[in-house]
């Protein structure tokens, strides 16, 4: 691509910056582990916006998991490119748009720039969308963990089976293959199944 990397000291850790022809390209990298820390996600988005005046092309690089769970097109109207990566490859999901150099006359103006407000509103909506996505991902992860725990023990009975208690529960009818190992040969199954029956009374002590 003919680009060369800028001085390492100029850019924060986890970010990449290149000069390609006359354009400066800046990439903010979001890693899988960053999803756990909400601040990291906010930080990534904010750092992208702060670079609008100093770089002409901006990218957010994120794990492919993000692309699968949000509509990547949300980045398009704001000119921010989206790179999705996994262990094998990196794809440009959304190409970036060239950022306009800052208008100095506007900068000196006392009246607030309506464009800036629009940008803030869109950034806020992007952030909200990201928050929602992360919350969904966390919930999905929790459900997956829960399901994998349940499914690894195929012997475990369904909740409806557990909830059933026959008054004359015969411990000898238990199928050992359906219950956790600590149930097998446990004499309490027989003792407890007789609770409330005649002759089953506690010792006064």
């Amino acid at each position: 691509m003919g680009a060369h990397q800028t001085e390492r000291s100029e850019i924060p850790q986890n970010n990449l910056a290149f000069i390609s022809g006359s354009e400066k390209v800046h990439v903010v990298v979001l890693r899988s582990e960053d999803f756990v820390e909400r601040n990291k996600v906010i930080e990534a988005i904010l750092s992208l916006t702060s670079l609008r005046n100093s770089s002409q092309l901006l990218y957010l690089a994120a794990p492919r998991l993000l692309g699968a769970s949000i509509d990547a097109a949300i980045f398009k109207p704001y000119g921010i490119g989206l790179l999705l990566f996994d262990e094998r490859r990196i794809d440009e999901a959304v190409p970036p748009q060239l950022m306009q150099p800052p208008n100095l006359t506007q900068q000196t103006s006392q009246t607030p720039d309506p464009g800036l407000f629009t940008e803030l509103v869109t950034l806020k909506s992007m952030y909200t969308e990201m928050e929602r996505t992360i919350a969904t991902l966390r919930d999905d992860l929790k459900t997956l963990r829960r399901n994998s725990e349940t499914q690894t023990d195929t012997r475990a009975p369904t909740p409806s089976r557990i909830a059933r208690h026959e008054p004359t529960f015969p411990a000898s009818n238990l199928s050992g293959s359906q219950l956790p190992a600590f149930f097998s040969n446990n004499p309490w199954l027989d003792v407890l199944s007789k609770r409330g029956r005649l002759g089953d009374e506690p010792i006064a002590g």
């Binding site: 909400r38 829960r146 725990e149 349940t150 690894t152 023990d153 012997r155 475990a156 009975p157 369904t158 909740p159 409806s160 557990i162 909830a163 059933r164 208690h165 026959e166 008054p167 004359t168 529960f169 411990a171 219950l179 956790p180 190992a181 600590f182 149930f183 040969n185 446990n186 004499p187 309490w188 199954l189 027989d190 003792v191 407890l192 199944s193 609770r195 409330g196 089953d200 506690p202 010792i203 006064a204 002590g205």
Partner: protein
Amino acid sequence: MDFGTSDFKYGPITCGETPRIVNNRGYFPDKNSVVYKAFESTDEVIVGEDVPLYLQSAEDLSSRLVYPMRNGMIDKADDTAWQVVSALTNLGLNTFKPEPNNGFQGYYVVASLSSVSPRYMYERLLDLFKQNNANGNVKAITVIPQPFAVAIGHGVTTCVVIESGHGNSQICPISKYPIRAAQVVLNRGGGDANAITSEILKDTGYGDLANEEAFVRKVKENIGLVPADLDAALDEAKRSPRRFRAKYKVPGTRVEIDLEKDSWSRFLIGEYVFNPNHEVFESYFGRGMPRPRDVKMGDTTFRGMLDFGDAIVTSVERCPVELQPMLYREVLLSGGNFSWTVPERLEDIAVDAPTKIKSLLRQKGIKNVSVKMTKSPQFSVWHGCLIYGFAVPDDYEWDWQRLEGWMKLSG
């Protein structure tokens, strides 16, 4: 659901051998903090896996982080602690939702509390379950004492269970039912072993580290030993200090403890847990270390200086005479305070917890004794809860005198 002093273990039988575990604690966030607003949480108290996210912003953990059952009991008026228990109950009930249309009739929930829990704790906990059963997923609820659950989980119907935690130790005979009137409680636990370890560190020149609780606990776990006979162990260790040298380096730091010629004192740590009556401890009491005192909480007196041998004998002798030999034949030890190891080449002097208990009972003239650690010290209470919930008939109704049976919530 097992409400332990440090951890809350919960989950239905479909979890298999291992329950879900979260710390038995709750965090009360500062509602004015930016982090609280950013997370948009509406919860008064945070429990479970999310607690660490809030801890990062905490300025005063001591007042906002609450461990409701540190000593096994909650005061009647301690609303903060009960709020945490309510939140944990909710977590336990809402984590596992039944699949729709599979014939589910409602969960039978078994909760386990410390055996020293007074009646008002049962009342309050059962009320919490009623309040938190808005979705009607719980059909019935019951509460059983932890030593009883340990015996069930271990599969022994006649035994003495000794559960030793951070603040106290409970000795509870079981014969198909917990024999509540024979229960003995000691006002001594892992925290007392920490206290004497701290004194030893002060005496050996490590006073600057002696107030760091987590560090002192690590030192206790790494250098503390239980002597078969304290006098013999002290003589031998003073004669051969190199053989018994107590040395511990904290991983990842430059901090190293080396007791050198005072390494004999490592035997005091283990002995103090089992028997604090040896004259050697008097010098520590004389210099300000608090002597474990008898304390009355509710209807129960927590004994301070009773050694474990006397405590077991006192408890067993409150039971019918014909039952006593059977109880001595199955003494079960449960809880982190019994996890003592014996280093190689010190087997002639140091012992594990079951051997020490056997030796203390032998001194009282009790010889035909079997003492064992529970098969699964961490989960035996939860295992016991599952077996109880599975086997007890549906028509065995809750009885406030027996403190057993099902309290029906729906259906």
